[in-house]
Symmetry: C2
Subunit: 252 residues, 2 copies
């Protein structure tokens, strides 16, 4: 049993937090990220991997659009992981992700990730307990490997309330710009809310050895944006990036 209880953690912004001030603050932080990502690209000293996990409608796509918009796409890559292909299923569960790990100088965003293999697969009983445990260990080892190679890993669990998920799924049925996101299957998965919660609690608890999880309260988009931007900015700042000095072999 996991000791983390997601039901005890708020999915909302602190009540005393000023929305307008926070929004302005987020724009400043994104400008900081823009400056830092240029240094990262120039220096090629390390890389950043952002992992976004959360149930349907928890705002993963929104993070990509709102936080990483206004940055330079030259060294940002976003990968969405859906149902594995036949080729991918024919390999271990980390194979399809490993080849998309960031190269030095890059920021890579995994929209869903290897964690699906201990979440959806577990909730539907497609894998047994022993396999779950083996995968937890494999994930820790994999993330350690990346860290040791200079990759900062920013793991965000998108923490949404059951009510807010309902609002968002409903909106997809009426907003013409969002209808393409509607999927009957999301409503089926919603019935498994409690099982997903437990699987997330376990994954967060067992897979924090190499890189810790951040619980991001996402019921309000403006607060979600602020938190993720801060996490990415802080990760980049920790790298102490500098522009390389002039390298020249001639006196031209």
């Amino acid at each position: 049993m996991a000791t983390i209880k997601l039901s005890k953690i708020s999915t909302k912004a602190p009540k005393n937090l000023d929305k307008e001030k926070t929004k302005k603050q987020s724009e400043k932080i994104i400008e900081e990220i823009f400056e830092l990502q240029d240094k990262l690209y120039a220096s090629k000293k390390g890389s950043v991997l952002v992992i976004l996990q959360g149930i349907d409608a928890s705002g993963k796509d929104g993070v990509v659009k709102k936080v990483f918009r206004k940055l330079n796409p030259a060294n940002i890559k976003v990968y969405n992981f859906k149902k594995p292909s036949e080729e991918e299923f024919a390999h271990d569960f980390l194979w399809r992700l490993h080849k998309l790990a960031p190269r030095n100088g890059e920021i890579v965003i995994f929209n869903r990730s290897h964690y699906e293999d201990v979440l959806i697969q577990r909730v539907h009983n497609w894998i047994d307990k022993k396999t779950v445990q083996q995968r937890f260990d494999a994930i820790n080892d994999f993330e350690k490997l990346l860290l040791q190679n200079g990759t900062k890993i920013v793991k965000c669990y998108m923490h949404i309330s059951k009510e807010e998920q309902l609002n968002r799924l409903e909106e997809r049925k009426v907003n013409p710009k969002k209808m393409w996101k509607h999927n009957d299957n999301d409503w089926e998965e919603r019935k498994l809310w409690d099982s997903y919660r437990k699987a997330y609690e376990d994954a967060i608890e067992h897979c924090s050895k190499a890189a810790k999880w951040n619980i991001v309260a996402v019921d309000q988009n403006w607060y979600k944006k602020y938190q993720v931007a801060t996490l990415v900015r802080d990760a980049l700042k920790e790298m102490k990036l500098e522009y390389p000095k002039l390298k020249t072999s001639t006196t031209k």
Copy 2:
């Protein structure tokens, strides 16, 4: 001999063009691209491939940063092509690019491209005339294949003057944010200015069968941005993109 004469084409903005108005116009166009790219992503109807070619310091990186910043990185991918790896050299010249072609719903930017294989390789006499001709044909065939599959191809030749290139290469030696871009080799290549011009003229003339080339005057960054943004916006508009209607199999 190519009939196109780049020396006869201006590298500068028209004299009567208002700089401030054009800058504002560019921002509007980029907002339009943002709306259109969301429809492209939602509908998955076709894709866009932007090819940026030009000599060193002609502002290819700048286009990526200035035009494609402020867009959603979720369906934009940027690939820089440098010297091929041993693995890549062991294949035909289109192999390394073909696998990076956009999937439906994506905008992919090639910063340099398969055209390097009829430019730098030709200027340095690494390939013979027959090979150049074969590659021209292969490029036309390749681009036709992509077009037939629903990919809009936006080819931009970054047309810079010799003086402006000099300014920019000099700046890299003194601007601490740009020193990482300084490369002695760029100065060597600059000596081959005329050979590059001829190779470009030939490539533009012979490889416009499937997708035409756009000559982008790049001496002023604000005008460069405006032209490329317009080309990308127009390509997306031609696709007549719409958000998909609601698809639901149940009455939930």
